[in-house]
């Protein structure tokens, strides 16, 4: 694939509930911000990809709500249903296919408008699983137990993820839940589905994020220094939870391997300076880091405990506060990409990490991390 870069980012502040906003209002705000960030107008955008989910929006053809507000009037526009990282992948392909030079990618969700357990229950197979009443939280609880059983990681160690990320979020004005908590607070919080307690889980929020991708010939048009896309890859595992080894993330390992290879990264542990990963639940941050090879198998908890994953550590993870502090489903992966862009540009203010030449963003689609998309972004072309 040819070279492409991210030349603009825009995001709405992640909130629990915004009744004064429709999807279109959120999309307009994020799109406007991304254009202003790049110093471009809507006429500089060749095509648009929106990302949304029909179930979460309560609307078949959910993309219908945001076309005009995303600047798509009289432009070519399509829609991906899946996490924002997947929408961005399609946007990247469209930027490099010879038809368009710039692509605006948006992703939105208003978790406040639906009952999330009903929405995620709908992801279960209607014939064999749905009436058992599983939802995302109970399914991930199954995975958490499997992971903890295999690796020996404890609930207290997983709780440390929540502590770190909520603490990081206090420095990020775009986050919903910045707060200072301890592992004890997490372990005392209400048990939702063993072993996941309330503070082990991300919230379900409202938010919209937009990024602008440009091919090499257009990347220089932005007023900001382009952040180069060094690698991007996706992979989906088997569907039925019982068909997989839930304690491992095979498809993530495959996706990460391909992304690293595209980026010419041989030793990810040493070469990745900062990572924004999909921490829908505390245990997931640990599991995903290990699956991607950013640390040894079963080692993430130890690194976390020793402070290596902190903002000031050797490999900061989720300096933005991650999903724990604000989780607009679907948009989530785009926020991860945008946060890595901020780090590489040196624009992350109070949560800026010291060295950010190469960053990693990861997004998840489906139950218990069935499908993953990994992005490697870099300062240098």
């Amino acid at each position: 694939m040819d070279k492409a870069a991210i030349i603009g980012i825009g995001m709405t502040k992640i909130e629990a509930r915004r009744d004064d906003w429709t999807f279109a209002d959120m999309a307009f705000e994020a799109t406007r911000k991304a254009l202003d960030d790049a110093g471009l107008t809507i006429n500089d955008i060749d095509n648009v990809i929106t990302t949304s989910n029909d179930f979460w929006d309560g609307r078949t053809i959910s993309c219908m709500a945001v076309g005009d507000a995303s600047g798509a009037s009289d432009k070519n526009v399509s829609c991906v249903e899946g996490d924002g990282t997947f929408g961005a992948f399609y946007g990247l392909a469209r930027t490099l296919s010879g038809s368009y030079g710039t692509t605006l990618v948006t992703g939105h969700s208003k978790g406040s408008q639906s009952v999330s357990s009903l929405i995620t229950n709908a992801a279960f197979d209607p014939i064999y699983e749905r009436t058992l009443g599983l939802d995302m939280i109970s399914a991930c609880a199954l995975q958490a137990n499997a992971y903890m059983h295999r690796t020996g990681v404890t609930a207290e160690q997983c709780a440390a993820v929540s502590v770190k990320n909520h603490g990081n979020a206090m420095k990020n004005p775009m986050q919903q839940l910045g707060m200072k908590i301890t592992e004890k607070d997490v372990l005392k919080s209400e048990m939702i589905s063993d072993p996941l307690r309330k503070l082990d889980c991300s919230p379900v929020s409202d938010g919209c994020c937009a990024i602008i991708i440009a091919n090499e010939s257009r990347a220089g048009k932005s007023k900001k220094k382009p952040v180069w896309i060094k690698g991007a890859s996706m992979c989906a595992d088997a569907y039925f939870l019982g068909d997989r080894d839930l304690s491992r993330a095979k498809s993530l390992t495959a996706a990460a391997k391909k992304a690293f290879s595209m980026a010419g990264i041989i030793n990810p542990e040493k070469e990745i300076d900062v990572a924004e990963v999909y921490d829908a639940f505390g245990y997931q941050e640990l599991m995903w880091l290990e699956a991607m090879g950013l640390c040894g198998d079963g080692e993430a908890a130890k690194l976390l405990g020793e402070g290596h994953l902190d903002i000031g550590g050797t490999m900061p993870v989720n300096p933005s506060g991650g999903l724990m502090a604000g989780h607009p489903v679907i948009a989530a992966g785009l926020y991860r990409i945008a946060e890595v862009v901020k780090q590489i540009r040196g624009e992350a203010g109070k949560y800026q990490v010291k060295k950010a030449d190469i960053g990693l963003a990861q997004g998840v689609n489906g139950l218990c991390g069935q499908s993953h998309c990994v992005w490697i972004l870099g300062k240098d072309r």
Partner: protein, 385 residues
């Protein structure tokens, strides 16, 4: 370097109103197997999958993840593109861009729908804005009827003109073993059928169908090694705007006009009526067959009915439309747009069996849906420059 892309194989199920003998996964698998067989490839040759359907018809969330057993997607990159009725076309366009960008060499595109599993009109109605549009709206038919009324008021057509289109497509379907409805209808039968929403009669609209379709796209690096006559993709367009139903210009499909102009200009096609050899038009009801060929630039505004009555769009005519029988004969919604693409590909590749149009150089397939959206693909026998 961007790559040129061709369709190298297609597969479809034998579409029926009900397929209680298979679940969704199995339905998908049928189409996938046929496409792989057509291209003489195995699932291991496939680098990525694009899949689409309209979620609320089957009531399953995250279908890209759910369908891996049927699609062959386990441990492969998978993306779901869903844009309502245009889905079948936009997934093909998605496959095209994924290959053209160099990200993947061979992409399997799958469209499917098991419409029998839900109330179709009810599900379609949820596409529309819940605050403003959903109260009055009645599935696809109400909006389409309103379009027909506006066109009739402007240009003086009647439901008789629409009926001639139904007669054509139902006759064409007799040549297509995959089509659901394989029984001819006469002009009188169409006009006598119950009025659903003035001026649309029952026999003017598409049925509800269970079906799946799969198309394999390959880059120029492998296309010619896979098949002697690949179907080259010359251009794609997706126009999906408008916020509310009342924003549209009723009686004209503006999105079709703009998409067609863009694609034909890029390909250097100046007289589509002469240069396009066959069209697979996503035509959810008969009247659209008159209005939208004007918007596509085949004939001037107001001349559509005359062109249809002349027989020009029948098999053997100057520009056959819907040799497959089109959407009126078969409509598994998430697949329908892809069936149009597959049928156009089959025409270019010379694989259209009993419905082959001779000497196809350019073919057009379109998608329609949502808020008056149009997607279009230009297919060609020659490699684009």
């Amino acid at each position: 370097m961007a790559k040129r892309v061709a369709i190298v194989g297609t597969g479809q199920t034998f579409h029926k109103s009900h397929r209680p003998d298979v679940n969704g996964q199995e339905l998908i698998h049928e189409a996938v197997t046929r496409a792989l067989t057509d291209a003489q490839l195995s699932i291991n040759d496939i680098d990525a999958i694009v899949i689409g359907n309209m979620d609320h018809f089957e009531g399953i969330n995250y279908v890209d993840c759910w369908s891996v057993d049927g699609s062959g997607g386990t441990m492969k990159p998978i993306i779901k593109i869903t844009t309502g009725g245009t889905t079948g076309c936009t997934i093909a366009i998605g496959g095209y861009h994924l290959v053209a960008s160099g990200a993947f060499d061979k992409v399997l595109v799958i469209g499917w729908e098991k419409n029998s599993e839900s109330d179709t009109s009810g599900a379609i109605t949820t596409a529309f804005d819940p605050v403003w549009d959903r109260l009055v709206f009645a599935g696809a038919i109400s909006g389409l009827a309103a379009e027909a009324q506006a066109y009739m008021a402007r240009y003086g057509a009647s439901d008789r003109d629409g009926a001639r289109v139904s007669v054509r497509d139902r006759k064409h379907a007799m040549n297509n073993p995959h089509a659901q409805l394989r029984k001819e209808v006469s002009l009188e039968e169409v006009l006598a059928s119950p009025m659903l929403a003035d001026p649309i009669h029952l026999l003017d609209v598409c049925p509800r169908t269970d079906g799946a379709c799969a198309v394999i796209m390959a880059s120029e690096d492998s296309a010619e090694k896979i098949t002697k006559k690949p179907d080259w993709i010359w251009g794609t367009g997706n126009r999906h705007s408008y916020a509310y139903l009342g924003d549209a210009d009723y009686g004209r499909l503006t999105s079709m006009e703009r998409t067609a102009k863009e694609i034909f200009k890029k390909a250097g096609i100046k007289e589509p009526r002469k240069e396009i050899n066959v069209i697979e038009l996503y035509q959810p009801y008969s009247f659209a067959g008159i209005i939208w060929i004007e918007d596509m630039g085949i004939v001037p505004h107001g001349k559509g009915a005359e062109y249809i009555w002349s027989g020009a769009t029948d098999m053997g005519g100057e520009l056959p439309i819907n040799p497959s029988g089109g959407v009126i004969s078969c409509n598994p919604i998430g697949a329908t747009g892809l069936v149009r693409c597959a049928e156009a590909a089959m025409q270019v590749m010379g694989k259209a069996e009993g419905r082959q149009v001779p000497d196809v150089n350019f073919a057009v397939s379109t998608g329609f849906g949502g808020c008056w959206w149009t997607d279009m693909i230009l297919h060609g026998a020659k490699k684009p420059n």
